[in-house]
């Protein structure tokens, strides 16, 4: 049996690259996208050399929502079976006190993601199989002063994915929400006060394994479930005084 193709949007992230390694090792073909053409083609050549698979690269800009329809037309015209999709792009935002920056954070992490996910949702519900993995964040579980704009977009995304999971279940399409904790990426490099930082390749590999098991919402590494349970349990009167 030939293995289906997996599409990874935002494949320049190290978590996405870790997941791509795992799928490539299993012999899946990959379509990798980013808005950085040079980078994504480098990542695609790397995967095809390492694992002798077909890895294609394509441009996909989360902010340029008008262009998304064309991307999905291209996917529909293909002869191969698209088995699943990962939405891995994200934007943390630099200085979120300005509205322009807040808007950009929400456009990428929520609107861009929703546009992409609904594209895959149409595709997969037509073929009555497939999976969608949305890479969200623990930041979406509770608003904190340090990153609540990003958190609010991710929180909205969580609810969107939850509803979609419900809607697509009868069609045999699985939707998984991934909430990574602290992962050793460019976003976190050198930040002080981080503990138990996970290797992005381990996180990527776990995403693939947990998708096999058809998990719904997962924290990676798994102990973040307990950390977030505690954080969510803190009463608001106390939480608002904390500096997290």
């Amino acid at each position: 049996m030939t293995k289906g193709t997996i599409v990874i949007l935002g494949a320049t992230s190290w978590i996405a690259r870790g997941a791509a390694f795992e799928w490539a090792r299993r012999g899946h073909s990959l379509i990798l996208t980013s808005r950085d053409k040079r980078e994504i083609s480098r990542i695609a050549s790397d995967l095809s050399i390492r694992f002798d698979i077909v890895a294609e690269s394509a441009l996909f800009d989360a902010l340029d929502i008008d262009s998304h329809a064309l991307f999905f037309e291209m996917l529909e015209k293909r002869n191969d079976v698209i088995e699943g999709a990962v939405i891995a792009f994200g934007y943390l935002g630099a200085n979120c006190s300005k509205f322009e920056e807040q808007e950009r954070v929400i456009r990428v992490n929520y609107l861009g993601a929703v546009s992409a996910i609904s594209g895959f949702s149409n595709l997969f519900s037509k073929q009555k199989k497939g999976f969608i993995i949305g890479i969200s964040s623990v930041a979406g579980d509770r608003g904190r002063q340090s990153n609540f704009v990003y958190g609010s977009a991710k929180g909205a995304l969580n609810i969107y994915l939850e509803g979609l999971r419900n809607k697509l279940h009868p069609y045999g399409v699985h939707v998984m929400t991934v909430k990574p904790g602290f992962v050793d990426t460019a976003m976190t490099f050198g930040l002080s006060g981080l503990f138990l930082v996970a290797d992005p390749f381990d996180v990527g590999k776990q995403i693939v394994v947990l998708q096999d098991k058809k998990k719904n919402t997962v924290y990676i590494p798994g102990f973040w479930k307990w950390i977030m349970m505690v954080i969510k349990a803190i009463p608001e009167t106390i939480f608002k005084r904390l500096k997290l």
Partner: protein
């Protein structure tokens, strides 16, 4: 890009320094910010070659993409953070091996080129840069330069310890192999002259000698030789056992003269038992130490100094006896020693290998008067027209360095041209007065 202020050390863990670390994930992230900068791979150089105290240091580990491979020409183009491990894991199952490999897989291609590393096959195949046809260099001027063989910037960069800029991409010619096994022979010796004459003869592709310098009575050694098995045998994808990492630094007494004497005696007898040629795996032949990820912690807080030099064949026997006697007189323990015969030198300005015998010695970092002993060794080596290996060095004096590397003025000329403001620096370059 985020910066992280952190203390790091060379592999010997004696040289240390706090730097501003940056970890680019794409080539464009490498930016000259007007502050002295340099690159670091996996930090396997023993001394201070990978350190840049108080300055910017680019960690290259995430620039590790294979870019192009042509099985007909065996040419592989890859980013400089690709490791020998990446190549072995990817290409051995396809029937290719690295043309030159140091004793560990945990090194980046950029590091291999910057130190112009050698392997057990230097007498046959030369050093790493001899198999590099082209590379890309980020220079202090902020541009990426393609550098071809025969360019003087090639000769300055290969073996140039990262001082001409940051190597970003390398085109390397891989070695086709028929099998992932090595036909190996062990030949024990109890006499230095016999060992030296064996190594001087025409030997197989891979040849190296393990030498026991802990025994007072005699110099025991084992010549380990091998070549890739020529008969085609199915190359299986090797499954690599997960590396063992020592969770904490061992106490300094864990490895001591007594334990090493015992180990050496056992090792000598174990290896001598194999009288006939036998088949070993690539893994055990080339990378015996790689099963422990961070073996340098075995030496404990004191760290270790690996001293490696090369001296011409002529007069080497007398030289080694003089050297061993001196070490014994100074009660300087040598836990591990490896001897090998080098072939002719290449045209790079600061590459270490040249025709003669090279000896690498592991000395515990808490040896009394270590640096005075090393100074004396340096004098002896220079007197015998030899040189020490800069990628392992942490004490050489600027004047002796210039004596050992007579082509330094050529290097300096190129350095001045590509980096007129001397922005590319390391702890090593400042110590040796390389400007």
């Amino acid at each position: 890009m985020r910066t992280c202020k952190k203390e790091i050390s060379g592999w010997g863990r004696i040289a240390r320094g706090e730097s501003f670390l940056m970890r680019p994930e794409r080539i464009d992230d490498i930016k000259n910010q007007g502050v002295p900068f340099s690159a670091r791979g996996l930090g396997r150089s023993y001394g201070d070659a990978s350190l840049n105290t108080k300055n910017h240091l680019f960690l290259m580990e995430r620039l590790n993409r294979f870019l192009e491979f042509n099985p007909k020409t065996c040419l592989l183009r890859a980013e400089s953070g690709v490791t020998i491990r990446d190549i072995v894991e990817t290409f051995v199952p396809k029937g290719f091996f690295v043309p030159v490999t140091p004793g560990t897989k945990e090194v980046t291609l950029g590091g291999c080129l910057a130190a112009d590393v050698h392997g057990k096959n230097h007498h046959c195949d030369g050093s790493f840069s001899d198999h590099v046809s082209e590379f890309e260099l980020y220079t202090a001027g902020g541009i990426l330069k393609k550098v071809q063989k025969n360019d003087e910037l090639f000769n300055a960069t290969a073996g140039g310890l990262g001082l001409t800029g940051i190597i970003t991409e390398i085109t390397l010619k891989l070695l086709p192999i028929n099998s992932n096994f090595i036909k190996t022979t062990h030949t024990p010796y109890r006499c230095l002259d016999a060992l030296l004459s064996h190594l001087s003869e025409k030997s197989p592709r891979y040849s190296v000698a393990w030498v026991d310098l802990m025994s007072r009575k005699e110099i025991r050694s084992i010549v380990i030789e091998g070549d890739h098995l020529q008969e085609p045998s199915p190359i299986k994808a090797i499954t690599y056992p997960k590396q063992f990492h020592i969770p904490f630094q061992a106490p300094s007494w864990a490895l001591n003269s007594f334990s090493q004497k015992l180990f050496n005696t056992l090792y000598f007898h174990k290896l001598s038992l194999k009288k006939k040629p036998f088949i070993s795996s690539l893994e055990s032949f080339f990378y015996p130490l790689d099963c422990i990820g961070n073996w340098n912690l075995l030496y404990g807080k004191r760290g270790l100094y690996q001293y490696q030099f090369v001296v011409p064949v002529k007069g080497s026997s007398l030289f080694f006896i003089k050297l061993f006697n001196y070490l014994q007189k100074k009660r300087c323990p040598v836990f591990l020693a490896v001897l090998k015969k080098f072939g002719p030198e290449n045209s790079n300005y600061l590459s270490f290998p040249k025709e003669g015998f090279t000896l690498a010695m592991d000395i515990p970092g808490n040896t009394p008067d270590l640096f005075a002993i090393l100074d004396a060794l340096d004098e002896m080596v220079l007197e015998n027209e030899g040189r020490v290996y800069l990628a392992k060095d942490f004490h050489l004096k600027p004047s002796l360095f210039r004596g050992m590397y007579p082509r330094y003025p050529l290097f300096q000329k190129v350095k001045k041209r590509v980096d007129p403001e001397f922005l590319v620096q390391t702890d090593l370059s400042r110590r040796l007065g390389i400007t």
